[in-house]
């Protein structure tokens, strides 16, 4: 039997936390081709800039995605600050790095848990999510909310981290580092995990680049590109080096993210150490007039904001290209040849965020 069967994977599927459909064409158990069907989470929020003013839009950008929300608001605020020529105080730039990295930490931990769930390792899912709660508690203690922080604003940030917050952050990071060491490192050597990830969903460096993949998906295939290298916010002062693996399979993508978690911990420590004393925001006057492109690195890769203002309080155009949108073409190249049972793991290995993708 070598008939082609079409299997709709999603929109409601046990391993998918979000609705997306992949129409899989199968020959027996092997995937021949995949076609994404999206639009289940499309809201059209870019058009809200026409009714909300440019300061209120910060809250909308935070809700493009609830997982990397702070980083979205950083991208947006940096864009507006470029248009308006606002100089952000140095301490605010460091604080933006700190909360960006706590977001990356909790996002990578969340993804690690979901990956474990996708290959049926529920115990690991629970262990990782327990460790993740420490990051959320830290965000609540320093920024006042667990998930969507609302601390980034045009011209700086709203809250400062004082000595108590600094001590708490360092203590949390020490504990988290131990937890990651205890959970993640043995897991990378685990026979079962390796069986499900090594050599699965392999993609070459050339094809990854050609398909325009970004973030850990690209870095796991040997492309040393990380927007943090451009030194936005305070990254230029923190000796940042991107994490790179070369195998290009699910295991490499897992390795990249585990190493990035440790890197994030290190970056927060450095930022706390080098953070200068200064005000945390500057007042912003007037309206944005002009256009710009703002790019930052999210847990899933590069996010790009195009912003255009015409001197009114509303922006004329906001356009967001999120990392998952860029990684879907690479995913479509990973799936052909894979077994149906591996499709959930491969799909999760790009860390899909559908809410970002469709906006």
């Amino acid at each position: 039997m070598s008939r082609i069967t079409v299997i709709p994977f999603g929109p409601q599927h046990p391993v998918l936390p979000e609705p997306i459909q992949l129409r899989l064409e199968l020959k027996d158990e092997k995937v021949v081709s995949a076609l994404p069907v999206v639009g289940y989470v499309h809201r059209g929020l870019e058009k809200l800039v026409e009714t909300k003013d440019y300061l209120q839009t910060v809250y909308i950008t935070e809700r493009v995605c609830g997982i990397c929300s702070f980083i979205h608001s950083v991208a947006y605020c940096q864009g507006i600050e470029t248009i308006m020529g606002v100089e952000v105080p140095p301490r605010a730039r460091y604080l933006r790095v700190i909360w960006s990295e706590t977001h990356r930490l909790h996002s990578h931990l969340l993804w690690f848990g979901l990956l474990a769930d996708s290959f049926g390792f529920e115990n690991l899912f629970m262990q990782i999510w327990r460790a993740r709660e420490a990051v959320l508690d830290l965000q609540e203690a320093t920024a006042g909310a667990r998930v969507i922080l609302g601390t980034c604003c045009v011209g700086g940030v709203r809250r400062d981290i004082d000595q108590t917050g600094r001590d708490l952050t360092l203590a949390t990071l020490d504990k988290l580092e131990q937890d990651i060491k205890k959970i993640a490192n043995p897991i990378l050597k685990d026979y079962g995990v390796q069986q499900r990830t090594v050599g699965i969903g392999r993609i070459s460096r050339e094809l990854t680049y050609e398909r325009g993949a970004v973030g850990p998906t690209a870095r796991a295939a040997g492309i040393a590109q990380d927007l943090r290298q451009t030194g936005y916010a305070a990254y230029g002062e923190l000796d940042f080096q991107p994490v790179v693996e070369t195998a290009g399979d699910c295991y490499a993508r897992l390795q990249v993210r585990v190493r990035e978690m440790n890197q994030s911990i290190e970056l927060i420590r450095r930022a706390l150490e080098r953070m200068p004393a200064s005000p945390i925001s500057v007042p912003v006057k007037g309206n944005p007039d002009g256009e710009t492109v703002s790019r930052v690195e999210q847990p899933r890769g590069e996010v790009i904001y195009y912003l255009r203002g015409n001197g009114g309080k509303n922006l004329a155009r906001m356009r967001i290209r999120t990392p998952t949108f860029a990684n879907i073409p690479a995913l479509l190249a990973m799936l052909p040849g894979a077994e149906l049972a591996n499709v959930p793991v491969i799909t999760l290995s790009i860390d899909p965020c559908i809410s970002c993708t469709e906006r």
Binding site: Q12, P17, R43, R132
Partner: protein
């Protein structure tokens, strides 16, 4: 709360959410918040479930999917709506592709307000839904929940709920 006769299982459907509520719901299932102490298990198959947990508002493409998932959950069932989007559309209420709260498509038993709600609030909502589930199992009539009043728009702009329609576009033509 009285001792429950059964362990209610929950299926989660993300309608149009930004993930903020979804990750908070998943956080409830994990060791720190541990919804399992009330017997609640998270499962992927709607046919196994007693509780349908929904996050996000409905749009033109997922309204049908939500209805479909709801129909597949066997009776008696309860619907827990997490986040302000499920009630009115929340911050996205004015977007062109948003139809409004999920009560336009399916009846809701508990609304949990917040953007996103804290895990404690979600647990509270789940426990309230268990009482309603028990009542439904006992054959009592249970009224659908009212929306949290502070999530409403001013009455002039408020929209009348539309009765759920069978699969198709009738009854959800727009926001007027």
């Amino acid at each position: 709360m009285k001792v429950l006769a059964k362990s209610p299982w929950a299926v989660h459907f993300n309608c149009n959410s930004c993930n903020g509520c979804d990750i908070e719901f998943l956080a409830c299932l994990t060791p720190l918040y541990d919804l399992e102490r009330f017997g609640v298990l998270h499962i992927g198959n709607p046919k196994h479930a007693d509780i349908l947990v929904v996050t996000g508002s409905v749009n033109h493409r997922n309204a049908r999917v939500l209805e479909n998932v709801y129909i597949q959950v066997p009776d008696p069932k309860v619907v827990v709506a997490i986040g302000v989007c499920t009630s009115t559309g929340g911050i996205f209420a004015d977007c062109y592709n948003i139809l409004g709260g999920i009560d336009k498509v399916i009846p809701v038993d508990v609304f949990v307000p917040g953007c996103p709600p804290r895990p404690e609030a979600i647990i509270d909502g789940m426990v309230q839904s268990l009482a309603k589930l028990e009542a439904k199992r006992a054959g009592k009539k249970v009224e659908p929940a009212r929306k949290p009043t502070f999530t409403f728009r001013p009455p002039a702009e408020a929209e009348a709920p539309v009765t759920p329609s069978p699969a198709g576009s009738a009854g959800r033509g727009g926001k007027e």
